[in-house]
Symmetry: C2
Subunit: 164 residues, 2 copies
């Protein structure tokens, strides 16, 4: 039984840690904190890949097969090819980048989410750069190979950041 085995392993790890380090004075970082840091890094790596290879390839690399996009102004979009088409709809020079701010991960480590801010930049018809500011929530599912892939992604517009 998969769940049984999974929990036995976790229980073993927890017990093992207690037995091995009963006297440690510095408490270990909570499991959830480590998992949150890991998921936050995944989202940051996702953004890095978008900077390197373009956001369309990055989305295709980080999406689960059953992922759903929830773009503003459109209905939900499912399927790798539909998602590729939708992401290609914008200006050819468009750059999407984002800054993950926080991650939440379930105790079991199989489900999590991140949120952050985003910028969608392209050159307007007058040749001047246009930036659409936004924020997003991405829901992630741990895959059988232990990697995180996103299953849901939604964003909406934000006002431009206040000038300092």
């Amino acid at each position: 039984m998969k769940l049984h085995s999974f929990l036995s392993i976790i229980l073993f790890v927890v017990v093992f840690q207690r037995v091995t380090y009963p006297q440690q004075t510095i408490p270990p970082k909570p499991i959830s904190d480590t998992a949150q840091t890991s998921l936050l890094k995944t989202d940051a790596d996702f953004n890095k890949l978008a900077a390197q290879k373009g956001f369309i390839d990055a989305f295709l690399a980080y999406m689960a097969d059953d992922a759903i996009l929830f773009p503003a102004g459109s209905g939900p979009i499912t399927g790798r090819e539909n998602i590729r088409k939708h992401l290609s709809d914008g200006p050819a020079d468009a750059i999407l980048s984002w800054q993950p701010q926080k991650a939440y991960v379930a105790i079991s480590g199989d489900l999590g989410c991140t949120y952050g801010t985003s910028e969608y930049k392209f050159k307007g018809q007058d040749g001047k750069p246009v930036i659409h500011y936004g924020k997003y929530i991405t829901v992630w599912k741990k895959q059988p190979d232990k990697s995180w892939k996103f299953i849901l992604d939604i964003g909406n517009q934000s006002p431009p950041p206040e000038k300092k």
Copy 2:
């Protein structure tokens, strides 16, 4: 140790179920399905409360203390009083309703999310009804009293549903 106790209880329940019903021919519904149904019902109950008492009271009833709203066109909003103020910003006769479509719940049952479609209705300046269609993702956290409260909520606009 909280996590240890929690896992021991789950392990006990799993083992107990196997010992008690070793010969059952109808396999029990997967845990995740039951949890998903329960969370989907919570979101539906949330919408019912909005219909009965107004969406502002419903949001205040179903939000976790550290919940964050991500409204389109505004920055993230935190804190009960700020959230109340933001939700009160619209037309006095505004009605927000939604239809939860799917829920995801972690194996550990402490984190989940729902998505669905929404309508925001009010009377326009010309006296005619205005409807803004949308979709949303809500992230939920199981509370110490075993109830689900939302910790993140985001939505964006959708085109009107196609006429049949």
